[in-house]
């Protein structure tokens, strides 16, 4: 018996959900929902427990990094990629989020999906997702990470398209997979380049080689290996984490059942891109260019998605754009070198965004499937628990202290402000915070306050069962206290979260330019500014949607151009369809297939065959059986031969010599 059994057998953490998935997938069709629940919740709950135990053992061992190779998966030449797992502080955060939040969402789903067909199928996919996500965060090399990366993409595809009878659902699933593949194209090339440069894809060896000072910026240039490799990896991250210009799949992904939106498209999978950037921080910090690109893309996405979120009327779509926007914040943090702040926001976001989605699911459940906020209103009294928990999450995401979102967002804005040239990023980030607060409270007011805008005789609003409310409450608690580890920093104390991640990211991050005292008052000022902007957003939403609802309509009318552009999401989908999808299909059909393949190549082949047939047909007539015509041919043939022998250049030599 090894002294630290769970660490030594770390693969058990992943294998449990896989087993659950396989058992439910193969046999669940004939089982009652209850049995399926046991398998699904049992396997993920056990996995959570194992993860906790592994984390405990990890801290007990006092190591900086635990790493173990289990078996070799692919090998060729000097390339080896194994099923190697590792655990460090960053992994600890991710593993606990994935298994913990994942388990809560599994519990919720047993209530939410209770009356749906394909119950076993749903949980089989959901467990499979947990398996791949755990591979992703525990992987010790890029290739194994890529396995999880693609695997979660597959599960996302399956779960978005869960209601496959609906064309919109299967379209959305397909779109998600293909857009992700575009990102993966970059990710793969990034891996190839890294292997070419470092001859390994193992994190430990690769990062050690990369941090060798002899790599220095000289000789590598602005577009040197590090920049290119980082940008290629970031391309993958843009796909997975729905950043500009590859974000288009995430809003559509809301076709999936709501627990899926909460788990995959809010709390875990979509943050994988942030995780990869943070994991590769050694590479990114070598390239100023790459970091700037990450920061700009993140910041632009945050703002861009928030503006779209302002006018959406589907409750889940608002949350989807909000997710895109918040992911932008995380990339902004990474881009300004504050990786721990990015991961911190990832953590708090997992709590409050999962909660928002689950609460929205509870609303949809209560309304009997209605998702349009224009047909809601006044729900606060009828579904109190849902209302209170959702309000907590909204306060958290809006950045109202002392809830979790306040601390993490504050840390990001602070870091953005501190880097040289970061003021525009900070300003845009602050503006986004205002917008966030506005659209989130708009959602709250439209859904829960005001007069009911639905037919109260037809819709019987009812609170959800405790299997759904339990996870809501748990997540609400986390959304409140989740940020407190960083609270002392605000009053000049240590930032426990950043300190926790120091072994991974190092302590050099964040430019400490100001003196300590000045820094603290400065930090407080920024925090106050952020809170004020959040309150401003709240007040605006209150004014427009509760106090004077007619104003909102008037505003929409007076700014019709802007409003329709936002409502149609800047027409980006249409743009992609018109510039990429349609031309590609047209060229493939008319140019490549019908012209090149059928007409040109096959035409030539068939033409050649027809030509030969025709020639044969003609020359057939020379075989007439007429002696006199044969005699003529003999004479002609003899003349040709004589001509060749005597008139050919170099006549006189043995003519047929070249045959030998």
């Amino acid at each position: 018996m090894p002294t630290r059994p769970m660490l030594e057998y770390l693969w058990i953490v992943q294998l449990l959900p896989l087993l659950g998935s396989a058992i439910n997938g193969l046999f669940g069709a004939k089982w009652a929902n209850k049995t399926v629940n046991w398998v699904a919740l049992g396997s993920t709950g056990l996995s959570f427990a194992c993860a906790l135990e592994a984390v405990r053992e990890f801290f007990e061992s006092g190591q900086v990094l635990f790493r173990k190779e289990f078996f070799t998966w692919i090998t060729a030449g000097n390339f080896r990629a194994g099923f190697d797992l590792q655990m460090d502080q960053l992994t600890v955060v991710m593993v606990l989020v994935v298994t913990g939040v994942g388990w809560l969402i599994h519990i919720y789903a047993t209530g939410y999906m209770a009356h749906e067909g394909g119950y076993y199928r749903f949980f089989s996919y959901l467990n499979l997702f947990m398996f791949f996500m755990l591979i992703l965060v525990l992987a010790a090399n890029y290739l194994l990470l890529f396995v999880g990366w693609e695997g979660v993409g597959l599960c996302s595809y399956l779960l978005i398209g869960f209601y496959f009878l609906r064309k919109s659902a299967s379209d959305a699933g397909k779109k998600a997979f293909i857009v992700n593949r575009i990102g993966d194209f970059g990710f793969m090339l990034g891996m190839f380049l890294l292997f070419r440069t470092f001859r390994t894809l193992d994190f430990t060896a690769l990062f050690q080689a990369a941090s060798n000072p002899s790599w220095g910026p000289e000789g590598w240039g602005q577009f040197g290996t590090f920049t290119v490799a980082c940008l290629l990896l970031f391309m993958g991250a843009c796909g997975k984490s729905a950043q500009l210009p590859l974000y288009v799949w995430l809003p559509d992904a809301m076709e999936g059942p709501t627990p899926v939106s909460a788990l995959i498209h809010a709390a875990t999978m979509v943050t994988a891109g942030v995780y990869v950037v943070a994991r590769s921080h050694v590479l990114f910090t070598h390239s100023e260019t790459a970091l700037v690109v990450v920061a700009i893309v993140g910041c632009a996405t945050a703002f861009f998605a928030a503006t779209i979120g302002l006018v959406q009327t589907d409750i889940k779509k608002v949350l989807a754009y909000s997710t895109v926007s918040q992911l932008g914040y995380m990339f902004l943090a990474c881009g300004v070198g504050a990786f721990s702040a990015g991961i911190f926001h990832l953590l708090t976001h997992a709590f409050f965004k999962a909660l928002l989605f689950l609460a929205a699911g509870s609303v949809i459940h209560a309304m009997g499937g209605e998702q349009d906020m224009r047909h809601m209103g006044g729900l606060s009294k009828k579904i109190k628990y849902t209302y209170v928990t959702m309000l907590i999450a909204t306060l958290a995401i809006a950045g109202i202290p002392p809830l979790a979102g306040f601390f993490s967002k504050d840390a990001i804005l602070l870091s953005a402000f501190q880097i040289p040239g970061g003021h525009p990023l900070y300003a845009l980030g602050l503006l986004t915070a205002l917008l966030t607060s506005f659209y989130m409270f708009r959602l709250i007011f439209l859904t829960f306050h005001g007069k009911p805008r639905y037919d109260e005789h037809k819709v019987h609003v009812h609170e959800s069962p405790w299997s759904m409310l339990g996870p809501l409450v748990a997540l609400a608690v986390l959304s409140v206290i989740g940020g407190w580890v960083a609270a002392p920093a605000l009053w000049g104390g240590p930032d426990y979260f950043a300190n926790f991640l120091t072994p991974v990211f190092g302590s050099h991050e964040g430019a400490e330019v100001l003196s300590e005292a000045a820094a603290h008052s400065f930090e407080l000022t920024l925090a106050v500014v952020a809170v004020v902007s959040a309150l401003l957003g709240l007040a605006n939403a209150y004014w427009l949607y509760l106090k004077r609802p007619e104003k909102a309509e008037g505003l929409a009318k007076s700014m019709k151009g802007v409003y329709t552009t936002l409502l149609n999401k800047y027409y980006v989908d249409e743009l992609y369809a018109a510039t990429i999808v349609k031309p590609l299909l047209w060229i493939s059909t008319n140019v490549l297939w019908k012209t090149a393949d059928v007409a040109a190549i096959d035409g030539a082949v068939n033409g050649l065959a027809d030509g030969i047939t025709a020639v044969g047909d003609r020359t057939r007539h020379t075989q007439s059986g007429n002696t006199r015509s044969y005699a003529v041919w003999v004479v002609i043939g003899a003349l040709v031969l004589i001509a060749v022998i005597f008139l050919w250049p170099g006549a006189g030599k043995p003519v047929l010599g070249w045959v030998r």
Binding site: V64, R196, R199, G219
Partner: protein
Amino acid sequence: MLHGGHLLSVLIFFPAAGALALMMLRGDDHKYIRYIVLIVSAAEFSFSLLMLRYVRVGDAGYRLEEFAHWINQPPINYHLGVDGISIFLVILTTFLTPISVLASWKSIEHRVKEFFVMLLMLEVGGVGVFLSLDLFLFFLFWEVMLIPMALLIGIWGHERRVYAAVKFILYTMAGSIFMLVGIIWLYNATNTFDLPTIQNMLATGLLALSPRTEMLLFLAFFVAFAIKVPLFPVHTWLPDAHVEAPTAGSVMLAGVLLKMGTYGMIRFCLPLFPGASHRAARWVALLAIIGIIYGALVAMVQPNLKKLVAYSSVSHLGFVVLGIFAFHNISMQGAVYQMLAHGVSTGALFLLVGMLYDRRHTFEISEYGGLATPMPKLAAFFLFVALSSLGLPMLNGFVGEYLILLGTYQRHWQWASWAALGVILSACYLLWSYQRVFFGEITKEKNRTLPDASAREKWILITMAVVTLWMGIGSVFITRRTAADSQAVIDQVEPQRPYEAAAPVRPGQQAARVAPGVASADSPERSGTR
């Protein structure tokens, strides 16, 4: 020392004996025909596994060699041998044959005996091609394989079967003629048909070819192989042949016949004509990359499901050719792996398409739609196979594709970058067609009552799925055995420049690089307990 006896001869002639036995049965549709063929082909498969005992990890070169004089003048010998590359191609052939037999169990109703005789002869040809070490013998089996294949298409095929069969024969024959000329030229120069002897003569300098002659000979062989692969732009026989062929024919065509082309490139083009291979490489790579992208794009817009799969083969085989002509041992191993993986997953796709055809007698995608409702099991298998074909990690398609791109990138990053676009496109055409066939509401009334996979079909598909998964996870079992011989091919094509030196080395930067052997080991500073 283990002694394999005449194992290779047994592998070649056992199916032939089976075919002979079949022909002695009276009547066309004897009730035992199917069982006899199944037993023969299953036994053949288990015999072929015996070869694994003799092909040991780390050894290069031919094993289990058999040599017998056949014709004195010209000296044509019966020379067989197996190495780490050909062994798996033989096993792939013997694996797909019983699968094809099972797939034809019900769908072949007339001239049953002849059908199975042809199938077994096809196996003889395939195994023979991969085991021959004598150029003449190779050519013989190469041609032997054509006839049963053409008959399978021409007799048991669909509406335009005769057109497709003739096209197949003529196309391939046109290539074969060039190869025959090349073989005879080599014989004239060396006075032997024996492949190892010729390789030896090249290595020792006994045979030196002028660059022009070498290029002509290279092209003579290459054209024959390129048509077989098929490489763009000589691929147009393939869609027709596939669409018209019966399911078993398609499986063998995709699984075995196409591999003869890529195998030929590895076995003949590269080692015999290294200089010409080098000079031609960039053009071959260009055609391969065009094939990858072009095949995928044309596949995407096919209204015919079977044609879609056929064009996807053009795309996948483009990867193989690219991997071969990148002259890097990682990409070479990837190419070998991709050959095997493609045989399994595209074979499985054809099986599934055939199962749909058995039910509805059409390949038109628009005739289907919403099939996941009446046949969930078939839908699940189809998705699984489609995922393996589009290269999902942990399934077989990924390993080969990844190694090819990784190896190619080490030498020519531009080639790999273009080829990697195929990774995006394969997801497009497979998922889009899958959606149109299986998702949504049922649009055609006839589809509502279609039966799900029968027990026989389920066992076929489970077998294919297990192999797919195993090849995706346990790739090391195969790559360890193909490693030495792949390296040997690379050494022959680049004797003066080992692949390692071809990597970009910047002066003064070597210290920062981790040595290959150390790559997976932990560094002392950051390692934990192991």
